[in-house]
């Protein structure tokens, strides 16, 4: 992944679900940060601290309403423009697996890419991709192909 000033925030966003939560937090922050004409202390939210840290790292004057609003808007735009890949898994992955996938993408893709995860229990395990090209790398498909190739041998074994 190329260097980007938003990388600090991008690391938080692994999936489209993460992005939606992030955008909700950003929305909340944007709505409340200059409520009643002056900066408010926002109740801690999932991504609020992270966003504040980002703003701090960008050396923004947090009292400068316009600058902050522009920074938040830029973050929103960056987040909305993030690329995603469609992936189908047997069940919704746990954090370990999501992190592993995200790390793999950060490492192997040229730019920040997030996962749009769909669930279909019929695939058993592995993954299916549908991004213009359909590719099925699911465990069940692999088992079926292996069985198909070895059908006569399997049946012979059963009969004996």
């Amino acid at each position: 992944m190329q260097n980007n000033k938003y990388n600090q925030l991008f690391t938080l966003i692994r999936t489209t679900r993460d992005r939606n939560s992030f955008l909700n937090s950003l929305e909340k922050l944007s709505a409340e940060i200059f409520k009643e004409g002056k900066k408010q202390d926002i109740v801690a939210d999932v991504y609020v601290d992270d966003i504040n840290e980002f703003l701090t790292s960008e050396k923004l004057d947090k009292e400068d309403k316009n600058a902050v609003e522009k920074a938040l808007s830029d973050i929103r735009e960056e987040m909305e423009n993030l690329k995603s890949i469609n992936i189908t898994l047997a069940s919704y992955p746990n954090e370990e697996i999501i992190n592993a996938m995200s790390s793999w993408l950060d490492k192997n893709m040229d730019e920040k890419v997030i996962l749009n995860i769909d669930v279909d229990g019929r695939i058993g395990a592995g993954a299916v991709f549908n991004n213009g090209i359909f590719k099925d790398y699911s465990l069940n498909t692999q088992i079926e192909e292996a069985f198909k190739n070895k059908k006569s041998e399997i049946l012979a074994l059963i009969k004996n």
Binding site: S84, F129, N131, G132, F147
Partner: protein, 242 residues
């Protein structure tokens, strides 16, 4: 031709009267002629003489006429008698002749009838004998023909029975082979179906078993391997997804 005797007598009488009248007129003519010759005589004398002569002639004519009539009557009577006799004889002869003829004809007819009857009986007998012979021959022929036909029919029937049996055997064999083939095909189909069911069952069990046997780490590795593979095969073209 038979002439009625009465008619015949009348005709004869009329003929006699005609002859008498003819004689009378001839005498009248002669008297007139002598009258011319004695013209020189006195009229009284002549007149008397003529009267006498006339009377005499008249009397003579009357006598002759009566005589002739009588003779004619007698002749006529004779003729009538003869005629009657002839007629009677003729009738008798004729009747006899007719009787004879009828008898002859009757006898002849009887004879002919008898001959015809005998001939007919003979012919009938011959015809009957012939008929019996013909009938016997026909019966024999019919019997022979029937026997030969029956033998032929029996032969044909036997041949047909054999053919039918062969055909039935062939058909039965064909049906049996077809049935065997059908059974074999059905058996094969059923075995294939059973094999497929077993195979699918085994596949399902294997999927479940393998799926359940996977650890989180295995699942993670499978997903990462899928990502690697997808990248290699160009299946991560996120640019299409916006």
């Amino acid at each position: 031709m038979i002439i009625d005797p009465t008619l015949f007598a009348i005709l004869v009488g009329l003929l006699g009267a005609s002859i008498v009248l003819l004689v009378y007129f001839i005498i009248i003519a002669l008297v007139n002629s002598s009258r011319l010759k004695k013209s020189e005589m006195t009229s009284d004398e002549l007149r008397n003489e003529a009267k006498d002569i006339q009377n005499k002639i008249f009397l003579k004519a009357q006598e002759d006429y009566a005589e002739i009539i009588s003779a004619a009557d007698q002749k006529a009577e004779e003729i009538v008698k003869q005629t009657s006799k002839i007629t009677s004889d003729s009738n008798t002869a004729f009747e006899k002749t007719i009787e004879t003829l009828l008898k002859n004809q009757y006898d002849e007819l009887n004879k002919k009838a008898s001959e015809i009857e005998k001939g007919y009986e003979k012919e009938m007998q011959e015809a009957n004998e012939n008929n019996i012979k013909v009938f016997s021959n026909i019966t024999k022929e019919v019997l022979d023909y029937t026997n030969s036909q029956f033998a032929e029919y029996k032969k044909t029937l036997e041949a047909m029975t054999i053919d039918a049996r062969k055909l039935a055997e062939t058909k039965a064999n064909e049906e049996f082979k077809k049935m065997e083939a059908d059974i074999e095909a059905y058996k094969k189909e059923r075995i294939e179906k059973i094999d497929n069911n077993i195979f699918n069952l085994l596949l399902s069990v294997s999927k479940i078993a393998i799926g359940k046997s996977l650890t989180v780490n295995d699942q993670k590795n499978l997903i990462l391997e899928a990502l690697e593979q997808a990248k290699k095969e160009g299946a991560l073209d996120y640019k299409n997804n916006g």
